[in-house]
C-alpha cells in the first residue's frame, strides 16, 4: 500500500499528464497483446496506423473528420458526467439529431443557405436533447437509472429510424434504406474545396466545416460548465447532491438540463454526417461514435482541453485502424472497439491503479529537491 499523498502537493502535470499517459500506455500494451492473439504483428500495426493517419493529406483529413465526431460525442458524455449522469445514449441521440438536421434541411430549403445551416444545427440540438429528455425526466423524478434507460433509448432509436427509413421517409427510387439527398447547395463546404481555393488538388475526404463547429462546441462547453452559474450548480449536484440541495440548488432541474445539453451535443454528430458527408440519412450512420465518446471523455478527464486531444487520438486510431484492416486480413474494425474498451478500463475504472505510486514518487522527488 503506497503512502497517502497530500493532494495539494501533487503538481498539476503529474495528475493531468503523467498519470493519463501511463494509463494510456498500459491500455495500448494490452491492445498489442490482443492484436498478437489475433495473429498479427502489433508493431507492424502501429506503423500502419501512423502511416494511415499522417502519411498522406487525405488520410490526415480523415483523421480530423473522425476527430470532429468524437469531439461532439465526447463533450456530450462529459457534460452529463459533471452532473454524475452516465449518458451512454449518445448513439441514439446522435441518430435522432440527424433526423432533426434532415427534416429542417429538406423542409426549409426555400430559405437562404446560411440560415438553413443554422436552423439545421438547431434542429440537431433540439432533436438530440428531446431524445435525452425522457431518460433525464425519469432519472430526476423516478430514479430510473440513466444507464439502462439511455441504452434502451439507443435500441428504440435504432428501431424507430429503421422504421422511418423503410416505411416513411425512404427514397423510393433507390434500393437501400436511406432518404433522398438534401439540395446540393446546402452541402457543407468540404476540405477539398478549401484546398482547391489555394490551388491544391487533393482527392475526396469527408472533412468539412463541421470541424470548426466542434471547436466552437468545445469553447461553449468550457464556458457553460466552468464560467456560468448553471455550470456551477450542475457540478455541485454531481459532486454532492445533499449539499447542493442544502444550498438551495435543485437536482431535478440540473439533471434534466445536463442531460438535454448532453443530448444536444450528441445530436451535432448528425450535422457532420448529414450536412457534411452523406447528405442524406443512411441507416446506422452513428456507427458507434456515441460509445467512443465515453472513452474520449474519460481519457480527456471530462474537460474540453483534454477531450480535443483525446478525440484526435481516437481519430488516429480510427483512420489508422482502417488502414490496418485493409492490410491485415485478421484485424477487423471491431479490434479497435476492443481497444476503446481497454482505454475506458485503464483511464476510467482503473485510473487509480498506479496513481498513488506515481504521485508519491514525484512529491518525494520534489521534497528532496526543496531540501537540497
Amino acid at each position: 500500500m503506497a503512502t497517502l499523498v497530500d493532494k495539494s502537493k501533487v503538481p498539476w502535470w503529474v495528475s493531468n499528464l503523467i498519470v493519463p499517459f501511463v494509463n494510456l500506455t498500459l491500455a495500448l500494451i494490452v491492445s498489442g497483446l490482443f492484436i498478437f492473439i489475433a495473429g498479427e504483428n502489433p508493431f507492424e500495426a502501429v506503423k500502419l496506423i501512423i502511416y494511415g493517419s499522417f502519411g498522406y493529406i487525405e488520410g490526415f483529413a480523415y483523421t480530423l473528420y473522425y476527430t470532429t465526431n468524437f469531439v461532439f460525442t465526447g463533450l456530450a458524455f462529459a457534460v452529463a458526467f459533471h452532473c454524475r449522469l452516465f449518458n451512454i445514449g449518445g448513439e441514439g441521440q446522435a441518430y435522432i439529431g440527424g433526423l432533426g438536421v434532415f427534416l429542417v434541411a429538406i423542409n426549409f430549403s426555400f430559405l437562404p443557405v446560411p440560415i438553413v445551416w443554422l436552423l439545421s444545427i438547431a434542429g440537431a440540438i433540439v432533436f438530440g436533447a428531446a431524445w435525452a429528455f425522457i431518460p433525464a425526466y425519469l432519472q430526476a423524478t423516478r430514479g430510473s437509472h440513466v444507464v439502462i434507460t439511455t441504452i434502451m433509448f439507443n435500441f428504440i432509436a435504432a428501431s424507430l429510424m429503421v422504421f422511418l427509413l423503410v416505411d416513411v421517409i425512404r427514397d423510393t427510387a433507390q434500393m437501400g434504406p436511406h432518404t433522398v439527398a438534401i439540395p446540393e447547395e446546402q452541402f457543407f463546404p468540404n476540405f477539398k474545396d478549401f484546398a482547391a481555393l489555394f490551388g491544391m488538388k487533393i482527392r475526396y475526404s469527408p472533412l468539412n466545416i463541421s470541424f470548426l463547429l466542434a471547436i466552437v462546441a468545445s469553447f461553449f462547453v468550457w464556458f457553460l460548465v466552468w464560467k456560468t452559474r448553471w455550470g456551477y450548480e450542475m457540478r455541485a449536484v454531481g459532486h454532492n447532491t445533499q449539499a447542493a440541495i442544502y444550498a438551495g440548488i435543485s437536482p431535478y432541474k440540473n439533471i434534466i438540463i445536463a442531460m438535454c445539453v448532453s443530448g444536444g451535443l450528441a445530436g451535432l454528430l448528425g450535422v457532420n454526417e448529414i450536412l457534411g458527408v452523406h447528405h442524406k440519412i443512411v441507416a446506422g450512420f452513428p456507427a458507434g461514435y456515441g460509445f467512443t465518446g465515453i472513452a474520449v471523455a474519460l481519457m480527456g478527464r471530462n474537460h474540453p482541453i483534454g477531450i480535443f486531444p483525446a478525440a484526435f487520438l481516437f481519430g488516429i486510431l480510427y483512420q489508422g485502424g482502417s488502414e490496418v484492416t485493409f492490410d491485415m486480413p485478421n484485424i477487423t474494425r471491431y479490434m479497435f472497439v476492443a481497444v476503446q474498451g481497454l482505454i475506458i478500463l485503464f483511464s476510467g475504472a482503473l485510473e487509480n491503479l498506479f496513481r498513488p505510486q506515481i504521485e508519491s514518487f514525484f512529491v518525494n522527488k520534489l521534497n528532496r529537491e526543496i531540501k537540497a
Binding site: F34, I37, A38, G39, E40, F86, I88, I134, P135, L138, R142, G143, S144, H145, V147, I148, T149, I151, M152, F153, F155, I156, S159, L160, V162, F163, V166, D167, F291, I294, A295, L298, P329, N330, I331, T332, Y334, M335, F336, V337, A338, V339, Q340, G341, L342, I344, L345, G348, A349, L350, E351, N352, L353
Partner: protein, 323 residues
C-alpha cells in the same frame, strides 16, 4: 383447440426466451446485494456465448465449453472487482469498459480465427446441448390439458431452461436463509457495520462477484450452444440490460425478479408471434416497431409504475476501511 395450442406454444417460448434473463437477473442479485453495481452482465453474457461456442467447437463437448465460459465470466467479474472493489474505481465506468471491450474482442477474435465476419462455425449435435424430452412426454401428449401442459409446455427444453428455474429457489435460499446470505446483504447495506463484526467486506464482495460470474456464464452458453448453434456478433442484444431492469423492477429479490423476467420473455415471445399478423382495427404493425416493444417495456417498468425501487443502501460506493 388451435387457440389452446397457440397459448401452449406461447408459454413454451416464454419459458425458453426468459431463461438467459433469469440467469442474468440472479447473477445481478448477487453482485448488487453485495453493493457492487453490475451493468457488465451484458458483456459477460456475450463473453460466455463466445467462449462456450469456441470452446465447444475445439473440444467437441458442450460441457467443456460451458466450463470455459464459467472461467471466462468469473475472470471478468474478478476484473470488475479488481477495478471497483480493490482500486475503488467507478463501478459504472468499469462495467461500460467491460461491455465495450467484450463487444469488440469477441467479434474481432471470431473474425480473426474463423474469418466469417464475426461468426463462429456451426456446432454439430455432439458439440451443442440438445432439447430434453421428459419421460412419458410422448405417451401423455393426447391426454387433455395435462398432456398439453406436460408434453407441450414443460417437456422439450434445453437443460439451461430447467436449471434457470431451479436456480431461483436456490438463490432465494442462499440469499435469505443462510448466514452467507445474511452477510452478503449486510455488506450491501452497511459495510462498516459488517467490518466491525469482523467480516472481510472485500472478500464478501469478491465471493458475490464469483457467484455472479458462474450464473451469467449459463446465460451465455444457453444462447450460443443451445438455442443457437454458433456465436454471432452482439448476440446478447441487450438481454443483460433487460435482466438488470427486471432485477430492479423485482426489487433485488429473486421471486419478483423471476416474474419480471417472465414478463419480458412473454413480451418477446408475443412480439415474435405478432410479426406480420394482421390485427383487428390496427392492421399490420411494422416489424421494426414490434421489435422495440421489449425495450419500451423496460423503460416503462423502470419508470416504476409500482413504486420507487429502493436499491441496497451501499450500492455503487467503494468501501474504504478506516485505519
Amino acid at each position: 383447440m388451435e387457440f389452446l395450442s397457440d397459448i401452449a406454444s406461447l408459454i413454451n417460448s416464454t419459458l425458453r426466451i426468459s431463461t438467459p434473463l433469469v440467469f442474468a437477473a440472479m447473477a445481478g442479485i448477487f453482485a448488487e446485494r453485495s453493493g457492487v453495481i453490475d451493468f457488465s452482465l451484458e458483456g459477460k453474457m456475450l463473453m460466455a456465448a463466445f467462449v462456450a461456442a469456441v470452446g465447444s467447437y475445439f473440444l467437441g463437448n458442450p460441457w467443456l465449453g460451458l466450463f470455459l465460459a464459467i472461467v471466462a465470466c468469473v475472470s471478468l467479474s474478478m476484473l470488475h472487482g479488481f477495478a471497483s472493489v480493490t482500486h475503488k474505481g467507478d463501478q459504472v465506468v468499469s462495467c461500460v469498459a467491460i461491455n465495450i471491450l467484450i463487444i469488440g474482442l469477441t467479434t474481432a477474435l471470431a473474425a480473426a480465427w474463423f474469418g466469417q465476419a464475426g461468426l463462429t462455425p456451426t456446432l454439430n449435435e455432439d458439440q451443442r446441448f440438445l432439447e430434453i424430452t421428459l419421460p412419458f412426454a410422448d405417451s401423455l401428449r393426447d391426454v387433455a390439458i395435462i398432456g398439453t401442459i406436460y408434453s407441450d409446455i414443460l417437456s422439450g427444453h434445453y437443460i439451461f431452461v430447467y436449471l434457470a428455474y431451479l436456480s431461483v429457489p436456490l438463490v432465494f435460499w442462499v440469499v435469505f436463509k443462510t448466514s452467507f446470505g445474511l452477510r452478503l446483504r449486510a455488506v450491501g447495506e452497511n459495510p462498516s457495520a459488517v467490518d466491525t463484526a469482523g467480516i472481510n467486506v472485500f472478500a464478501m464482495r469478491y465471493k458475490a462477484l464469483a457467484i455472479n460470474g458462474v450464473l451469467i456464464a449459463f446465460a451465455g452458453a444457453h444462447l450460443s450452444t443451445a438455442v443457437n448453434a454458433n456465436f454471432f456478433r452482439e448476440m446478447s442484444a441487450g438481454r443483460g440490460y433487460l435482466a438488470l431492469a427486471a432485477m430492479i423492477f423485482g426489487k433485488w429479490h429473486p421471486k419478483t425478479a423471476l416474474i419480471a423476467c417472465l414478463l419480458f420473455g412473454f413480451t418477446d415471445a408475443l412480439q415474435i408471434r405478432l410479426q406480420g399478423v394482421e390485427l383487428p382495427a390496427i392492421g399490420t404493425i411494422p416489424v421494426q416497431l414490434i421489435q422495440a416493444i421489449p425495450y419500451v417495456l423496460t423503460v416503462v417498468l423502470l419508470a416504476g409504475f409500482v413504486g420507487k425501487a429502493i436499491a441496497p443502501n451501499a450500492i455503487g460506493q467503494p468501501y474504504i476501511k478506516e485505519r
